[in-house]
Symmetry: D3
Subunit: 271 residues, 6 copies
């Protein structure tokens, strides 16, 4: 028997959502997918719901009959505040409210390195470090982490807030030589979050087994994530086609990378 | 010469705003007041602006020619999410954006014990403890603390996030025998935040010199707050008219008090 | 109304028990006293029970109709193991079992500096430091602290384990210039432990406000103990009649003092 | 030349004692075995002593001419207090006294996860965490750990207190998928404890290299234990035959597992 | 009887040395003074030795028949490296060697805030923080602190390394409103260091009881320093005659103050 | 293109310098070598400069046109103070000044376990532990670590201070079974320090992947050192030819080993 009857994946049409669909099927009888656009290749065990996360009623419907939620939806990058407010803040609140009202037991949330982007790489922080967002996007990640903490302490809904570093098909630049999270490792972390006997409220840091370690993820040891990939195989190619960055630039100094060099989105938009 | 040309106080018509008006006049040539309703006894050094913090344009105007902001506006208690979203989250974003666009240097923000309400009193936390909100209201306080962190790290605006415990004319119940912050001490903490040579990003915990200490505020030692009042003088009267609470009830176990016993505001509203 | 109906004081005929009798009367309608010998000056609100704490049935009777227990009984100094086993280990187990079976809600236990006596004074430990007993007596204090932890975590009985340093009428030697706990302060700490809204499981360090501070007691801030006495007034007299000790002797190096220079009690007995 | 002349193993007829007999022979010329019953297959390098650890004189004899003691004897589970008092508390005291009087240099003690069973799995504690026993059995483990600390600080006898999680032939339930310590790894940890150049007073946590990590054992890095087994190979079979537990049950919440759901042994006995 | 037979004060002709002469007389039969120039008002209990600390033989003579050394000599400010090397590094080595060869038991060393000047005021460090010197002068203070550590661990000579912040007749600028150490408090700290029963190796932070606290000195609680002065009485005058500094300037950001804005002494000399 | 134009290696004729010459060629167009004697087998990409590090002018010339410095020169063992002062203290100051004046961006410094030699092995320290040198040699290592900290904080020159444990062709005694750093691993650590995107100020602990771990090097995770060798293959041979040491001897108790048993070099010289 599978551990869950129905898992909801939000952001299912996105880059990581597409990977998650492939990797979580063994954990639930049914996978419900949600995004602003329909996925094209719906599988027999899947059901698709097109909706906006900012729509309260739609999300209350979306979360019916769901045991667990893999919440990867919302704006994936720095953008204007009202978009972040609606998609990430209001939308994530709806997801947690749907979980509460409809009885989902566990949420795996795609938090981000940008929730802690202004910590220095040399500081070697772990999950107990205070938040230091590097963008409005990062602030919205802190909001949802705080919300997950409340819904565990008060309403008993477990959350794994997985701070994803750089999850791409392969390392695209020198920073990703230490910040890369392979798709397979990303899916594995989510899968372990869904399978672990006790999640409570846990913060995880999603990184493959790269040679350079920017943070210490040992506080999530009870989740059982063991990365299997590493960026090392891509090092020579990446270094051959990219120049080293200045060690004193904010994008190298801080673990948030180039987000730390972005100005305010309103100013950026005017450029 | 006064250290500031013009200080803005939001929530100026409220319980604490009224106290702040009296106590900060020596720090600025002009005090601008803002609230949803006008104050009635405007003083010569004061100017009143009635506006909603959720109104972007209004707040950009409100924050013009302001050196420092004492941000005490917004919903003061647990309430429905959309109210919190508009008043506390969007509204505070507008305040920080106004500070950034108009060149204010420092913000004193009325954060709250409810940002960390689910920590146990016996845990004796300090400012480095992870957030544990006890309400949607508390989550919004975490949001603004995160925003203040970003605006310091990226935009160079200093913030003192002052987690106010219970600021009332006098201790009203047994919990306030340890959670009370007298009006005078509250005003003093804000005044010290405005006067300290360096605030950077600092979290303070606003408590008078009560006998029982639920948290350790020493990480804010550079602000120079030295409480002068204590709840002890009220102890006998309070104990005479109130019964002791069960030590195992959430409202005694956790520093957030009765907020920890509140259900979800939507459920409470239905009661 | 007094907070407790009946408080039991064990070791009531001892040096500290005698002080406690005088200072706790306002907290309970009845004070039950227990010791191996009867007290001579029984007061109207007191009832005396002469018994051995090592006698299971006697202690089950002793703890009937009791709301709180101030457990100061047992061997007060290093002695042979079988005495410690019977008086301190078995006896304290009986007290906690009595509390559990008869519904007492809170225990104030006279633990001791000797539970942590092998920590160096220069280490400036607090309540989170690992135990380092300096004697079999100290090991028995660790046993009861561990037992109190269990009875809180599993059975919901609150405990304040008060590590008493040197509670005497006045400082008798140079070490007591920093280790002294006046009788009044000792009684105050117990009284605060009985009155605090939430004790849960708390470790306190009983010291008057002496100039030299060997440990940090701030983790017990929620108990509200504020020492009012100090050894300073006795300094000149003490220093005049005693020679300074060698800074490198164990009795100065470690906070347990001369207990750290004691050999094994079986060897000492043979001397 | 072997590092020890004679090692004493207590509890030698038990489940783990039997394994230890096989694995420690290369470390000593002679292995002395002790238990309440004789082992049946005595080897040429072994000598058997049948005795009760609660018998002072017998243990003083038992520990004669012994260099090191592997102390695995005593009650292995929660039971009534008097049994624990005699077997685990008095008995272990006799062992340490025997070591002291007869000149043994090092003790490897089978402490237990139940010494810290009420810590949450999500807390990811290490060896510096305060004790939190989950049973009278666990309290007795704390007693012996405290005793070992004293005998090192005062009498110079080294101790490795090895907190064994679940040492069985194979993982028997879902909890053991993270709490399992294979027999080979258990023997290895003891062997390393006997071989390490410096033990002083060390607390170790005995776990195989399972995927989920409930505690951090790095504070024992100087012992050199490197687990070689893992529960993963048993996962499919265990999960197939057992249902998942409720993440909110004490037996999942706390690392002590089902001990945390046990009532008091006297109550349990009445059931 | 006085606790010491003879105390040596180096730098005795300097600003602080002059104060120390007045305040330490009750602690020793004889006070030996050392500096590059003679003091003019030699008292009956004093003996003067004019010498260079960089002169090995002279210092070996200087330290003869001395029980304790108050080492305040050497270059008091940032200067060229060879001066620092000779006066502070070689000179202090000679002092410790003199202590070792001649049997002095305790050294009180005038370390400095500049040993840790690059820590941020908002970091609220304590004595366990890593060193962060703000000058070559500060590096030399780290050298002597390291040397004192060695001479304690290996040779058993106790050291109090007293990191003096700003010891002047009165606060001279706004920074001194938090960094001031009155002369009386400075002398008190030294006196307590000479009188404390156990110093071992202790780092203290010399500050009067100013309202703003830049560091936490509680790790030196066993020394018994209790500041009696405060800069507050000077606040109005100082603020009236000085302008506030930019909160973002290094001299406000870091506790080392204007030393953090100094360039390299060789470059400064060329200006 | 190679990351550096020219790397300077000091101490190039020494044991480790010889290894570094072989392993760093791929990182720079040119390798400049420096030592008191010339190397004999100069390679085409190498240039040799014979000089004393204590000679200011020579070192200013030596460091011209250099991007990075691998500073392994100076006295390699405990010796008299004046030698250490000239070679290690003055010499290293010259190296950092050369870096500053000539624009080198990064220094890899051969610090040593002897900078922290008086920490106990059982303490399991990491890079944040206070220094505890075991020798004048170790004090000089602390000096240079402090200097590197200053040159980063004030002058922007990055430093990796690599605390080398025992780097020899193979483990020579039992201590090296845990303290060994193979030549290949030593070279790798330096190489990683030169290649890491951000070093800032980092302290590393150079150890191969030996079974026993005396310290925790995870604070240097961003350097990316992954040891590939281990002392285990040498264990049997080492144990066969050497006797175990007394666990209570300083050379086993402390991580500095036999340096902790050395007397003062002046006394040793007289033996």
């Amino acid at each position: 028997m599978k551990p869950y009857s129905r898992i909801l994946i939000t952001g299912a049409a996105g880059r990581l959502g597409t990977e998650l669909r492939k990797g979580l099927g063994h954990l639930a009888e049914h996978i419900r997918l949600s995004d602003r656009v329909a996925v094209e290749d719906l599988q027999p065990n899947e059901e698709m719901v097109v909706c906006e996360l900012g729509d309260y009623k739609a999300v209350m419907d979306l979360t019916k009959d769901v045991d667990a939620i893999v919440h990867f939806g919302g704006a994936p990058l720095e953008t204007d505040f009202e978009t972040i407010l609606d998609s990430n803040i209001r939308g994530s609140y709806h997801i947690y409210e749907g979980a509460r009202q409809n009885g989902a037991r566990r949420v795996i949330y795609s938090s981000s390195v940008h929730a802690i982007g202004y910590h220095e790489m040399t500081a070697q922080i772990d999950a107990d470090a205070p938040v230091r967002p590097d963008s409005l996007y990062g602030v919205s990640k802190n909001f949802v982490e705080s919300l997950g903490r409340l819904y565990w302490d008060k309403f008993g809904i477990e959350s794994l807030c997985l701070r994803i570093f750089s999850s791409f098909p392969e390392p695209a630049d020198r920073r990703m030589l230490w910040s890369w999270l392979s798709f397979a490792d990303c899916v594995q972390y989510v899968e372990r979050g869904l399978s672990a006997p006790r999640v409570g409220y846990t913060i995880g840091h999603g990184l493959s087994d790269n040679r350079l370690k920017p943070v210490d993820d040992s506080k999530a040891g009870h989740i059982g994530f063991v990365p299997r990939d590493t960026a090392e195989g891509f090092r020579d190619a990446v270094e051959a086609r990219t120049a080293p960055a200045d060690p004193k630039s904010p994008s190298v100094q801080f673990i948030g990378g180039w987000f730390c060099e972005l100005g305010h989105p309103d100013d950026e938009a005017k450029k």
